[in-house]
Symmetry: T
Subunit: 152 residues, 12 copies
């Protein structure tokens, strides 16, 4: 059965209470709960984690190697500064979809460039917590299109 990793980067542990005018009041737990429903619908399993450290995120991705077939990634601010994270994603050799809660193109210039986007399948931003669901659905669709249909 397909397993997808859902990985959240720095400061996302505070989601729901952190700058709610910007990021909303939905928590990571709410998002995980919703994604669990979607996963059941799609017939897949999920692994989910959040870390504040770049090295810890890399360690975690390494641990998922061979265990997940794709990653839904909100790398938070590391999106814009971390080449090491892009290398980690390449190292575990699975496709990923980038998600951002806010519209990063309507914020500070530092957030307009993603170190990750060119290596992703695609990205979604500005659609709030729903963006995770769409990213998960899009990632699974991508994996299934490239997978030979179950024999029959």
């Amino acid at each position: 059965m397909v397993q997808i990793g859902v990985l959240n980067g720095p400061n996302l542990n505070l989601l729901g209470t952190r700058e709610p005018a910007l990021y909303g009041r939905t928590t990571l737990a709410d998002i995980d709960a919703r994604l669990a429903e979607v996963a059941r619908e799609l017939g897949i399993t999920l692994r989910s984690a959040q870390r504040n450290g770049e090295g810890e995120l890399i360690d975690l991705l390494h641990g998922w190697r061979g265990e997940v077939q794709g990653v839904v990634l909100n790398a938070g601010a590391y999106t814009h500064t971390s080449l090491a994270l892009r290398d980690a994603l390449a190292a575990i050799a699975v496709p990923f979809v980038e998600v951002h809660l806010t519209n990063i193109y309507a914020r500070e210039p530092e957030r307009r460039h993603s170190m990750l986007a060119a290596a992703a399948i695609g990205s979604i931003c500005g659609l709030g917590a729903a963006g995770y669901e769409y990213a998960l659905r899009g990632l699974v669709a991508h994996l299934r299109e490239r997978t030979p249909p179950a024999a029959a």
Copy 2:
């Protein structure tokens, strides 16, 4: 009842036969058909159009003024060059979500900057035809969150 405009820009009329290795074999008609299903599910109506001319797209948006409450927009190459289109979207004063079939961040540098993204609610790229569906769902969710619930 909420009505959403789905607007496609230059060269998207050829979708399905144009550079299929890049854009896939799904046609605009296929996308419209799928969006029609989603619209029924969401209890909304759709208007859909495609134009190759920048001025024609602007004319079309002006014509939708007061008729649609939001726009799903794939402006194709005008995404990167048209300030006039951004002004037209501001002029009709409805929220919009930007969609791209391909991951524009993994293509030529000219496609890395969007003239529209900062004015959008959000954007989706690289998820193929499914991106339209997610954009539509995300846009409707955005409109409903900001709308007082129907009385009861």
Copy 3:
């Protein structure tokens, strides 16, 4: 008798109702009415048009060739992106004055550079609808200074 063309670009058809906090409530018809008064005072005739398409604006300028002796031009967003419009103005070989309703230097960076300004006689921005009147007066003064006085 001197004839001047007054040409308006994309989205200016919506003037008066489009983003009124920014562009005011005066319509193009109001502006044309005021310019007609000024034209009578100056002893000239006017031709006036608005188009949303870059190609249509060019077609229109070509049609004015040999008919107008100068142009008052608010090219809207094409100011910042259209080299073809500058070429069309050079092709019909008449002087023009650029007008903008808003102060383009106090808006987004994309609006700070004009593709047209270097080819114009001069430009006016930020003075609202009155800017058209000043542009017309300035253009006619420019033409008359270079014209030998009517014989006597």
Copy 4:
């Protein structure tokens, strides 16, 4: 009664004899005379000055604080280099319109960026001495639109 300051920057004292092919043969005195007529027509009074020093221009603006309700400003070359002048205009907290005799966008690249324009109501360039008149009219119109009409 509304009083407007007309302030001219470096080298404008030589107007009429300085590079006449570029700046024309009208002198500052001619301009002041014409503006005095316009002021009478508009029912306002004027104060007018020219200085070559950046500090002197700032001193002068400080002295006008509370005395003028707006400024018509041709800062000459300081337009492109003086942040201190912009601060002085902010310090005296009155609106201003920027004027240039020549079309600064058709000259050297150093003249294409104005340090002042973003803080102005608007700007006029390339219309020669007439630009001062239009700037004055535009400024007074701006002040009056924002002023409650005299009672009665």
Copy 5:
């Protein structure tokens, strides 16, 4: 039989009378007549068109899809601003050669970058109307080198 499209962009309809010091006195009709002779010599047929609108040029290219095996293109000012035109050329999937009457590298900086050149087979500039003939010959030679010779 090989058919080649010859497409001209904005303002080229005025060729011969537009800025003759720069563009010469040869008209588009003259060029078409000369190209017809060359086509006869080469044993090919031609389709030729000129449009001022970006969208119209795209429509026209779409209409030529499957009908022409290559395009000689003078996109005029759109050369420097139109990504949509490049996409249209990719969409109809035929090789093209870029032509410019003038030496674009000896003109304004805006004309030094072509949005199209990287997607072309090659480009010719500064050789006036003769550039069209060379482009046509070069394009046909390119097509024939890649075509197995007619059996014998």
Copy 6:
């Protein structure tokens, strides 16, 4: 009672022995001792910490949320590279003052841009260990100006 966090970033644990010609011989313990005196004088309490990891600094700031009313921050080299740290400061929603022991504007170009400065109340650099004291005093003054005086 007001509590302030004093947070030091990478390599500052070696202060006093690390590149003493540049950073001096004062240790972090010396600085903490001096700040404790100042805190007593100001009637506040302090929390102080140093970490070498970006993620650890973020974890630490999260832990201070709701416990400190402001932060004195010397983020060391992360000043110039960490957007995640700026987000963490925004997430805990307290004002902070940036301190640097050396004059970062007289060093390598990489140190001339701070990712944090725009989000800070203010910053101090080049005054050595005394900079911490001034930052603390400035921060407390800032907090008190905005706090209604204790009743009486």
Copy 7:
């Protein structure tokens, strides 16, 4: 006895009444009074001046040569545009500390670069009038560390 010069640049004469939302209501006289107290505490004397002209500030610094052992400098907008002022500070060969009332890194981009900072001992910004006091204390500490202790 050590004497320190306190020098203020353009528009600072209006401090307290100029843009109070930005610069506060403290006047230069208030700041001088506070610095006089600090000077007494530190056992030093002060000279203080403000000028709006770049040349006048340079003249003033030249006049302080040999009379002051250091300078506290708020050069206002000249901070960002005056190389001549940096040369004047080098010419009188005394250390200086740069002060800004506001956080210049949270304002317009033009204010993010200081022509003076690299030549200063250090700089302080965003701490309002208190910044002067800290600058003075920091400067005196700097001078004393480098001075051999009074004999005995």
Copy 8:
């Protein structure tokens, strides 16, 4: 009788065997042979040379001074780095046409800028060995248009 110089720069001596996938299998001797035919047709004579050294190319051009009336130039990599070659062409004061075998706009960024193009009559790239023929024809046409027709 008109004489034209055909000059080839560094590495072009290896044409035909050097990177044939990129540059083809035609040799310089083949090109010279074809140009000789064209020259006979045009009633002109040719001089042809190839050098790998920048100084040698300059020496060669100096030697052609007064002997050739125009130059067909493929400067190879010096196109992008040699200002001295441009000066040499100006020094001998004859018109030249630039040729490149490959489409330099579809290669590395270093090849996108030509030091020579602005001084040339025109340029041709991407049409392989045929480009030399077109360049020669274009150059001769250019020379003849500017030459009074032979008397009679």
Copy 9:
């Protein structure tokens, strides 16, 4: 006896299995084994470590302070983003040589700039695992040239 630290950064723990087409099949253990042989030959001892976190690498370097006389460093992606690591190397005040398995100049632009290189003795890239050996030999040679020969 001289001791050298060999430090590897993020994702290098996966060497041998990570993107083998790019990084090869040699593991870090293989490299350490080879370096141990070289160390015996050179009469030195080694310490070796790998970490994925920037802070952990800094902690590790601090721990090596006074214990190693030089460092062979492959900082992986942190090479391009970590100023803190450069500071840590300066803080422990030993020379280091930078190694990269791949030719970083033939990869993405983000990898073309090293934050560390200017502070290193030298660097080696593109020679695969052998690069470590050369770096170690080069570092030891560097240390010995600067060390007075053992007496006798």
Copy 10:
């Protein structure tokens, strides 16, 4: 008789005592004395002045209008920041030669660009006080070459 103005800008009044390691120990008076000798040799007269203010330098140049036939100018730091000074030189319409005591290309980047150089006849830097003499000789030679010889 030809009269030349020798004008010195900010901080040059301190020449001889200001940063002597950089600027030497020659004073302006020494330079003026030497230039007086050269002037006698050349049969011309001199006017010489130094000012620290940009406006004062402009006033001074205006005063020299019609009195001097050329200017030797060391504008000090204003060289790099003053467009107004360039305008003043154009306004008095005499040729000038730029002098710098030091080699401005071997100093800070801010000194590498001159606002004046493009408008000068030529410039001399790095030759110390002797540069003034060469500038004067070069300027007079320039004037005489363009002057018809005195009749005879």
Copy 11:
């Protein structure tokens, strides 16, 4: 038997006496002698040359075509300016390793970009004369890894 070319560019003939503080006292002859020993050890032969001219270096590389299987290249200053040399290396189609005696990343900015590095297998800098030895060893290892073992 494998033959490797060792090629040195401009000014390297003076090695040992040229700027010895920077480049050391080892001569090219010393380096060649050491490389001869290494070649014997590796069972290969060497060809070695030095030239000051870009064209001469290209001529030399052309002469080595088909004779050497790889090149160790220290192109000196041409590293940073010569595209023609990169083309020559591509033309002879053998792998090469770039060597620099000094750490080019710790010198002037002009030396930070290599025109050659992206086309090399790898590069070594800052390790002095030993860098040549490592480059040679690395190059031979590279060749052998890709070569089927000699039959047996």
Copy 12:
């Protein structure tokens, strides 16, 4: 006795006949003749040469090593492109003065940056052939200031 080398770069052999409107009608022989007079006056000897090749100029400078005590250099176009020439000047370790006949700051942008200027004592441009004389005088003065006077 002091000997100075006078070195001229590419295209300067044509001086006097090459673009005389720009470079004048004085030949190199005229300049050498005048410099010989100056040399006699100064009590020095000269060596003079001109080469078109970068490598030849380097060879020539190497040959002058130990023979000349300084160089007057007009490197022509290599001024702007040759780092190798700067290295050659450093290699022979004598001071040099840069000369240009024209005002390079009033020409194309490519001529505004000198690769050599930062390494020179100083530079002179725009003063025509007289610039060589001033450069020679300035260089000799520089050498003598640093040389103890001949004993007596």
